[in-house]
Symmetry: C2
Subunit: 276 residues, 2 copies
């Protein structure tokens, strides 16, 4: 591991590391915010999963999350959104390949050579974090758009692994919308039954754990009706009796201005759930 | 004027406009944050001047200032750092020409054709703001690095025009450091007496108004010793009896992570001074 950025931030440190990931088969970057409390004691960790086109930089520069992590004593870990670099397959378009890993483990050639973001985020990344930083094993997960999908799916697929989950503008039903259909066809192939294992709305029906979901969705979001469809999440949660706080926010769009406006409330929610 | 971005942000609106500036002789972009209070009443305005290489985007995306403006009822106006576009002279290097206007009115060919950022920020921009938005005539000014120089110099050169001023990591004595020497030689020519009119430390000696200065400077700032030299500001203020609160912040660097960490305190200072 190599530290490639370090900035003092709200009494703590916003760092960026480059690590060699065995799971992804490439070097990958990750933002780590260490709050001031991490000097004295192990802190819970919130993993943040970003959306299409993003790297580890978007969240750490634009979300304004550090101040809240510093208040609550949370470590924030922000991985890249896909493998990238030499030998990593890519495709035309912003919504497949590099910058668009969809937090799943690809089964199809050529994607299955490197695209294992689920395995990386759920296993290798926390093992690295917990070995190298004053991190407790209390884990939360959150994300935006494709990363909101990632947060919901990773929490639902891995009961017991996360104590808190929240999402901004998530792709809640990728098997039913264009972004998901394109990505899942490529990464997972034509068998739509296999897609359901990576679809939050589908997973909720059979969830073994009823972790409460906090979701914010802007009503001026340009992707609301075609790609995000929060009403499908509401229906799935109602049918399964899964606890959901879905907040529809008038005027807000799909940008980091939206995330910044409510990240404080999300991190307060995580802090409450992660309290030992 | 044309609105080219609008985002809901902390109950208000982060907008970006493109305006035709007669002073600069080109179209120029400006970020305007309207806090929720602006729906009901005129609000004071804080002008933010960014540093070298920046456009209107850096501050509005990275500083996390909107939450504080929303709390205090402040309009935030973030202009570009220079003219730019067809016909605007430029130079090699990041520290002269486009992105490096230094908030002065150039006297030398070819720069005097467009580089009049002082005139634009002090006169044309506030006239446009106060004509088009619910803005009171209570004005504050703040900035970072080259923009910190701009904030101090504009306030010192224009007594009565601003009620509050603050700076992060300002170039306090451009006549004595490499960035300033390069820029002033080009924009103002070889007569070093003329340079003193654009140097905060020189202006403080003869200031007709003793507006208190709030300045934050990170001690891990890579430009501290060669370009910023806050001790010169302290000496100038002590010699002139000018009120200065200079805060030296251990560990902080020159980045927006530093600005984000303390912008809340700066805007609280402005709000206090601007209260009607």
């Amino acid at each position: 591991m190599q530290r490639i950025e370090r900035h003092a931030s709200f009494g703590g440190w916003q760092d960026v590391y480059e690590i060699e990931s065995a799971t992804l088969g490439v070097k990958t970057r990750v933002g780590v915010y260490l709050p001031p409390q991490a000097i004295e004691r192990p802190c819970p960790v919130v993993y943040w999963l970003s959306g299409l086109t993003c790297s580890e930089q978007n969240f750490i520069t634009k979300a304004g999350a550090q101040q809240h992590a510093a208040r609550h004593g949370l470590i924030l870990v922000a991985p890249d959104t896909s493998p990238r670099g030499e030998g990593v397959p890519d495709a035309d378009g912003y919504d497949l390949g590099v910058g668009a890993g969809f937090y799943l483990d690809a089964t199809q050639v050529p994607w299955n050579s490197h695209y294992r973001m689920h395995d990386y985020v759920v296993h290798e990344l926390p093992a690295w974090v917990e070995a190298n930083f004053p991190a407790s094993d209390a884990r939360g997960i959150a994300g935006h758009s494709m990363g909101g999908h990632g947060a919901l799916v990773l929490a639902l697929r891995n009961p017991g692994r996360y104590r808190s989950v929240s999402a901004f503008s998530p792709i809640v039903a990728p098997t039913q919308v264009p972004w998901g259909e394109k990505a899942f066809s490529a990464y997972l192939g034509d068998d739509r039954d296999a897609w359901r294992e990576w679809d939050a709305c589908a997973l909720i029906a059979d969830a073994r754990e009823r972790l409460p979901l906090l979701v914010d969705q802007g009503l001026a979001d340009e992707f609301l009706e075609n790609q995000l469809r929060p009403e499908l999440l509401r229906e799935a949660c109602e049918a399964a009796g899964h606890p959901l706080e879905l907040r529809l926010q008038p005027d807000y769009d799909h940008s980091y201005y939206f995330i910044a406006s409510f990240i404080g409330e999300h991190l307060a929610h995580h802090a409450e759930m992660l309290r030992g």
